[in-house]
Chain length 206, copies 2
């Protein structure tokens, strides 16, 4: 919740201007023994490393339907997503996925294993999404959601999904469900995580 | 490489004292709409989120032997580990695992799938380790390693391993190799990632 909007440029892409240890200006340089530029404080010597963030979430299923949330926050206000958000310090990946599902959809889940792991090197994020069984249908929108609803495969709003990570995960899920097996899927999305380009309602461009 | 020593308390555990945007002192408070304390700058409004880091690495195998590296850096100087280190911005998890294997052991690998995913909530890290096939035996210590060597199962220095994550991964690997199947293993280590407590050379305490 509130830990910066998932899918948006992470705070790490903001250059560090001042040292968080001593308040003096920092500069970008390659530290001794390193091989890439870091924000370094010449006053106190602190090196300010910046690393990818984990976005943890779930694909909650009730019978033949999947729970989606319609976003009440930017980015992608009004578009549909799976419950997911930035993993916090002090929690495990599974705890993060359960917490986000509670916060965004008031959903109680039983996790059924890690399902998709998606690196987004252009925005310094890694999505980790779990398959999950909804324990009841008493879900409801949290503060970051306008609506929460269950969708059969034919009802998924493919052209109104918030993120390519979500589309990738839903596509794998329905494929795997037909096959009856749910292996881990690893994926890398190198283009920007913009609007989905998958619009199955329209014929392909010739 | 050099991106802070994996296994050590991450820089995120260091409190933010000054705003990296404007250099003014920050204070710890719960921002509006949030539910946990953050370092917030009252001067410019920036909220300084802190999140877990990913440590990516590999379990490189040559025939019946596993490649380990003896650490030339703190923490755990002189103890053995699998090649692994902090994932950098701008790379995928697989790229991070390959890069670390190159930097620490000059090893060329073919990754064979994500194998262990280990949350360490007490130190705000997630380890992601890949099974891998060594492409040749021309490995050699990088700057962060004293030695690199191949070990059969009976030769693994169980009482001189650097991290519990590494021990967990090696234990799973040898078990799985006997079974002939290598499923993904998810795990949470909640105690501190201290010296290994697994010392199979000693009889169990009665």
């Amino acid at each position: 919740m509130a830990n910066g909007p998932a899918g948006s440029p992470p705070t790490e892409r903001r250059p560090v201007k001042y040292c968080s240890e001593c308040g003096q200006p920092v500069r970008l340089k390659i530290p001794a023994g390193d091989n890439r530029p870091r924000h370094v404080c010449d006053a106190c010597g602190t090196i300010h490393y910046q690393n990818p963030k984990i976005v943890a979430g779930a694909l909650p299923v009730w019978e033949d339907r999947v729970l989606l949330c319609r976003r009440a926050i930017e980015p992608r206000y009004g578009l549909w997503t799976l419950p997911a958000g930035f993993m916090e310090n002090g929690e495990s990946m599974e705890e993060a996925a359960l917490r986000e599902s509670g916060e965004e959809a008031n959903a109680r889940l039983e996790l059924q294993g890690l399902y998709t792991v998606i690196s987004l090197p252009t925005i310094n994020q890694v999505y980790v999404l779990y398959r999950a069984r909804l324990q009841d249908t008493d879900f409801a929108p949290g503060e970051e959601s306008l609506e929460t609803a269950l969708f059969r495969e034919a009802e998924i709003p493919w052209d109104r999904l918030a993120f390519r990570t979500i589309r990738y995960t839903l596509e794998r899920y329905f494929e795997d469900r037909r096959r009856g097996t749910f292996p881990l899927h690893e994926h890398v999305i190198t283009a920007n995580n913009r609007q989905p380009d998958h619009q199955p309602a329209k014929p392909p461009q010739m």
